[in-house]
């Protein structure tokens, strides 16, 4: 039987990341995702959870991050949510990718990677939570 869905709730710290990475790998294997599709899935979750943990709770309060993954016929649908401060990651300016080595700034690439590698993405604020939905190509060669 193919595992088609996973739904995980995490505290807003990175202690659960290794377990989450392992679960995503098992999920990707069960769903027969290609190495590229698996990498994109891991990347989207990793970047999102790190951003939420690093910037969503500046007062240090405990919070909850949700990671939901569902496999459709030709896509992987990802819903990432957190109860951190309101923040739409897709309003962040795109990094300058054309600069020379000296001009390139260190950092700011996470959201750019997710936005570029996803087929579609959306943000909404709902019931006190930031909710990001992403659609990733399932058959990325």
């Amino acid at each position: 039987m193919t595992l088609r869905e996973m739904d995980v709730r995490l505290p807003n710290d990175l202690s659960q990341m290794p377990a989450l990475v392992a679960r995503l790998d098992s999920f990707a294997e069960a769903a027969d995702l290609s190495p590229k599709a698996t990498h994109r899935l891991q990347l989207a979750v990793d970047e999102f959870v790190n951003n939420a943990v690093d910037y969503g709770y500046p007062d240090g309060r405990p919070g909850e991050i949700g990671v939901q993954v569902r496999c459709a016929d030709d896509s992987v649908e990802l819903t990432l949510s957190d109860d951190g401060d309101p923040f739409d990651p897709f309003t962040a300016p795109s990094p300058d990718l054309d600069g020379t080595l000296d001009e390139r700034r260190i950092g700011g690439l996470g959201v750019h990677l997710i936005r570029t590698l996803a087929r579609s993405f959306a943000y909404r604020r709902e019931n006190g939570r930031n909710v990001v939905t992403l659609s990733l190509a399932r058959d990325a060669a």
Binding site: L14, E47, R104, I106, G110, L113
Partner: protein
Amino acid sequence: MQIDRLVEGNTVVTVVKGRLDSSSSPRLDEMLAVIPDGSTAVLLDFEELTYISSAGLRVVLKAAKLARSSSVALAVCSLTPQVHEVFEVSGFSSLIPIHQSRETALASFT
């Protein structure tokens, strides 16, 4: 993540295996912060690097900047297709030479 460092002639080869993410990247950052005396080139061998995130890219960019300011060549080699994709999307492929294999990379330094 596992990091191995070896010297080939005047080139320091750093072999990174496993996941390069926010939890592991500080270790690589620390190792790449020093370019050993007498080295004229730095090669990052990513043949067994299974995963890289923006935190990993950050460390690679920092190393490339350090190499440039030290007049040392820096290149990466043997990227898997999924890691290569991240290099392309981040624009790094136009900043940092990418070689198919360690051999071609080492040959490019001479």
